[in-house]
Every structure is written in structure tokens, then in C-alpha cells.
Symmetry: C2
Subunit: 164 residues, 2 copies
């Protein structure tokens, strides 16, 4: 049960755009440089985010991406679901509304209870973190790193602020 690079890279890219798009749109070339993800792959991730209405883009020179809404109004769940599809490790009838599967195993309804709790707990978790919080955290860490370089405390701080 792994979150794919779509979700992992995509959230990082989204936060990056949120952090750097205050004045002007952020180009994927810049995101790629900062996050060490290929432009080509980023394009695919951005297509999903845009289709979900989470980003707006301007084409051509000096173009790029900005958030479609304030970061305080976009949850991590919004972003991850746009990238990964449903965040439901188990999809079986009666658990998700979208399930098209049919289930006809004999005997018992027990494991369904488990799948529902897992699904609900994940969605509850990601729906209660907003991008704004992560933007602030990123700014705080970037600042710490600058101070750290002055104070020769790179090792501690880079560990504290490592990303993924």
C-alpha cells in the first residue's frame, strides 16, 4: 500500500507553487529545479491539478501556474485526490459511493468494517490539513536554513527540514 509518486511529487509541486506564486505565476522549469522532478512529469501532474480546478495557468513566455483559490481553502485531500483518484485503499460495495464492483462472497460482513475505518481515517486526516499550513511551515524551514548556514548548524537543520 504505497502512495505513488504522483501524489508525493504532486503535493510537493503544489506547495512549491503556493509558496512562490505570490507575485507572478510559477513556471514548471522553476518547480523542476527546486523539487528535482522532470518538467515532463510535472506537466502530467499539473494537468490533473488543473482539471480538478485547483490551479490556474497562463501560457506562453513568463507564464506558469498559480493556485485557483487561497491556500487556506485548499485541503491536502483536495490535492491528493486530484492526483491519485479516490484515497480508498479498499473499494468494495457499500463502502464507497462510487464503487461499481459487485461482491458475492459468502458469509460475513466483518472485513467491510475494517475497510471503512481505514478509508475514513485517511480521508479525515488529509481533509483537515490545509495547504496554507504547509506553506507557512515551508517558509519557516527555509528561514531556519538560512540562519543555520550563518550559524554553521547545517547538519541539524537540513535534517529537520528535509523534504519528500
Amino acid at each position: 500500500m504505497k502512495l505513488s509518486t504522483k501524489g508525493r511529487y504532486g503535493l510537493r509541486a503544489f506547495i512549491d507553487i503556493a509558496v512562490y506564486s505570490k507575485d507572478e505565476p510559477v513556471s514548471l522549469a522553476n518547480v523542476a529545479k527546486r523539487q528535482d522532478i522532470s518538467i515532463s512529469y510535472l506537466e502530467q501532474l499539473m494537468a490533473k491539478l488543473k482539471k480538478a480546478g485547483l490551479t490556474k495557468s497562463t501560457r506562453g513566455a513568463n507564464g506558469g501556474y498559480v493556485l485557483a483559490r487561497p491556500a487556506a481553502q485548499i485541503s491536502v485531500g483536495d490535492v491528493l485526490r486530484a492526483l491519485e483518484g479516490d484515497l480508498t485503499p479498499v473499494d468494495c460495495p457499500g463502502i464507497t459511493d462510487t464503487s461499481t464492483q459487485h461482491c458475492d462472497v459468502e458469509g460475513g460482513c466483518a472485513s467491510k468494517i475494517v475497510w471503512k475505518k481505514i478509508n475514513d481515517s485517511i480521508n479525515e486526516a488529509v481533509d483537515n490539513i490545509y495547504i496554507e499550513e504547509l506553506v507557512e511551515e515551508t517558509r519557516k524551514c527555509n528561514q531556519n536554513q538560512e540562519e543555520g548556514l550563518i550559524n554553521h548548524e547545517e547538519i541539524n537543520l537540513s535534517r529537520q527540514c528535509s523534504n519528500h
Copy 2:
């Protein structure tokens, strides 16, 4: 992000053994019949569960599997981790103790907050459901289904009690 058949089938098989092993060990042939999973695949799942100390087996004719501890002392988390490995959709340094990965992406520590919350919420969910509860639920449903057949309410009840 999907839970594999190892986890899905394996938990069902484990519950099945818990339900039917009151008097004698449960053979995989019987589990296979009831749960519609091949014996050969079940053998692989049981190897993991046994290695984790969750089941005991007796070989030879009339052999089979029983739980190694009372169902009230085995959590769903124990079972799923035995089958799937760590239930951590994102494994990155500083989040899990077992992580051997190194992370050197520049700038920011934000997404790590998210991954930790997701991992914690899943594990908290599965560690607070015990097999005993699922055994009782299974018994309740099996009984309902029998009554349902008598009362000609098969459709409703089979929906209510469907498994997966």
C-alpha cells in the same frame, strides 16, 4: 494507493479461521471453499501469518490452523502488517524508524507533516479493531442470513452482510 489481495484475502481468511476453529483446526481447503480463494494462494498468506506468530498449525490429515492467541488479543493491525509489511503509504526519513532511505530534496519540510498524519491515522485505525469484534460480527451476520432465508428477505440481508 490500494491494499493488495494479500491484505484483503488474508484478513478474510484469518477471520474465517477465527470463526471456525473453536473445536478443531481449520484446513485451508475449507477456508478456500468458503472464501473463494485458491488453496495455493492461501498457503502463501498463511506462511506470513504463521511467521508473525499469529497462527499455529498442525500438519497431516485432520490438520489445519488455529489462532496462536485469543482473538481478543489480536488486532487487525497485527494481521495486516504481517501480510502487507508496514502500513505506511509514504516512507521517508524521520517518519518511520525502519526507513533506510536518504532524502536530500532542497527546501521545505512541509509534506512530511502530511505523510506522518496519514501513516499514523491508518495505524491508529487498524490497531483499535480486534479480531474478536469481527468474529462476533460474522456470527451475527451468518445468523441473520439463516433467518433471512426463512423469512424470504434474502436480498436485503445478503446486501447487508456481503463480504470483501
